[in-house]
């Protein structure tokens, strides 16, 4: 995936569309936008960084998983086999990007009022006591659709494709616009590239 920081307006559309797609509990954000106001007045700047699982080629979360629940899928997607996860949360400590969440309790968005029908349906597909994460909306991709955050980005800042194909749009964007990975010094080789804001 390639995220164009020049186009991103920090609208949280990716975050909300991901929520709508996966129906994750409160506090679980497979896609999120991190914002900072940096500098001192009058030289200040608003920086926003859309985040998700980077599906690293050398994923530390896969390395530390004691059961093999965290694994690489076809195409380099890092996924969690829910039936194998023991909930040790080592992957959460290993991930430098904060892309993993422990599904500790399935509380709804309206405390004291029970779960909404939507929450009931979505939570039924999620196991408590295990770690959850973004899987690049594999179900959608296998159905020929784009991940929800890509399809719903109002600024069209996100492009999804095959980084191994040098002729794909994502590869060309990375090459021509100088795409960069977040914190490459960690040696995780993320599969998400950012295009510079200027």
């Amino acid at each position: 995936m390639v995220i164009d920081l020049k186009r991103c307006v920090g609208c949280y559309g990716c975050q909300l569309s991901c929520k709508a797609e996966h129906g994750t509990p409160p506090g679980v954000l497979f896609a999120r936008v991190v914002k900072r106001e940096i500098g001192t007045f009058p030289n200040t700047q608003l920086v926003h960084l859309p985040m998700l699982c980077f599906h690293c080629a050398s994923a530390p979360c896969v390395e530390v998983c004691p059961t093999g629940a965290s694994h690489y899928r076809e195409g380099g997607v890092v996924d969690v086999t829910t039936d194998d996860c023991v909930g040790c949360r080592a992957c959460m400590q290993a991930c430098p990007y904060g892309a993993r969440y422990f599904n500790e309790t399935q509380t709804g968005y309206f405390p004291g009022q029970g779960l909404t029908p939507y929450e009931q349906r979505k939570y039924a597909a999620q196991n408590v006591g295990i770690v959850m994460k973004c899987n690049f909306c594999l179900d959608r991709v296998q159905a020929g659709l784009e991940p929800a955050c890509v399809a719903n980005c109002a600024a069209r800042a996100r492009t999804f494709g095959d980084l191994d194909d040098p002729l794909s749009e994502v590869s060309q964007l990375v090459r021509l616009r100088g795409g960069e990975q977040l914190q490459p010094e960690l040696g995780t080789h993320p599969s998400v590239y950012y295009l510079p804001p200027a």
Binding site: G27, V33, V34, I38, Q93
Partner: protein, 300 residues
């Protein structure tokens, strides 16, 4: 037990530059610290009980490691699936699981049938398991790339030192239970030496981490003047290092009573627990963005 982090707190953490780790220390995470503490103390006790020929110590070691297994199960989100942890090729948690799997039956076998081939086999299995248990814990933390404070080769050495110390400490507490033939004074002096080593190692570790990167520096700050400071100063330093070292230093001049030796052991054990707790509590994840003011994000 309360969850490790409420959704509101999780969201607040996600918005901060220096995101604290909570999963391995708060809520059910405390059970992991208890499990790590007990398994290292148990493994250390096994090694020293063997060396001193102190049979009640072997039983204590088995009990400590068995309790640590229960604490680990309590911590896991899906404890009933523990048997799936066999991916030893890359995971230190899996190696620890194998170590515990060798130790528990091996130690039980050796205690039930000390003589003969079965006893020897049990002894070998338990001793290999104890060695793994002493080594693995620090490496579990050191493999956490997301938390620079732990991601250091110094931490496994520190944790191994604490495991050895914990083993001696439990022996000092247990010697009044039937330690005839064991030179308690000598054990006390070894404990003093290991306590001083642990203090030096802890200082070295913090010194190294202070010069590593921003997140590690922040973790050191959390330890010495932040949310982990009470556990660090009171538990790790005062109770865990200063008291046993002072009491042990008195023992250099002459023999100490068993009560004082037991007090050295008990304070050392408390220090061992709080060292693990404070180091876990001070964990800070790699910052994703440069530090700055964080604007309010909409609720999600």
């Amino acid at each position: 037990m309360a969850p490790s982090a409420t959704p509101d707190r999780l969201l607040a953490d996600l918005g901060t530059t220096f995101r604290p780790q909570r999963q391995w220390v708060e809520g059910r995470g405390v059970w992991l610290i208890v499990g790590h503490f007990l398994s290292s103390v148990g493994a250390g006790t096994w090694v020293f009980s063997l060396w001193l020929g102190y049979r009640p110590g072997l039983g204590l070691a088995l009990a400590a490691v068995a309790l640590s297994g229960l604490a680990h199960l309590r911590f896991l989100g899906r404890g009933a699936r523990f048997w799936k942890m066999y991916r030893v090729r890359t995971s230190w948690i899996a190696r620890g699981f194998v170590g515990m799997s060798l130790f528990l039956p091996g130690a039980a076998l050796h205690l039930l049938r000390p003589a003969g081939a079965w006893g020897s086999l049990g002894l070998a299995l338990a001793t290999v398991g104890a060695a793994v248990l002493i080594v693995y814990k620090g490496n579990v933390y050191a493999a956490s790339k997301g938390v620079p404070f732990w991601n250091s080769p110094v931490l496994p050495i520190l944790y191994a030192t604490y495991a050895i110390r914990g083993g001696l400490a439990l022996l000092l507490v247990a010697l009044p239970l039937g330690g005839r033939g064991v030179d308690a004074h000598a054990v006390g002096l070894i404990e003093l030496w290991v306590a001083v080593s642990a203090a030096v190692m802890l200082g070295f570790y913090l010194g190294v981490m202070r010069g590593t990167n921003l997140a590690a520096q922040r973790s050191v700050a959390e330890l010495v003047r932040g949310r982990a400071a009470p556990a660090f100063y009171l538990g790790t330093v005062a109770v865990g290092l200063v008291v046993p070292i002072l009491l042990g230093a008195v023992g250099v001049a002459g023999p100490l009573s068993q009560a004082v030796l037991a007090a050295i052991g008990a304070t050392s054990l408390a220090g061992d627990f709080f060292a693990k707790y404070a180091i876990a509590k001070a964990g800070i994840y790699v910052p994703l963005m440069p530090a700055g003011r964080e604007p309010a994000a909409p609720a999600a």
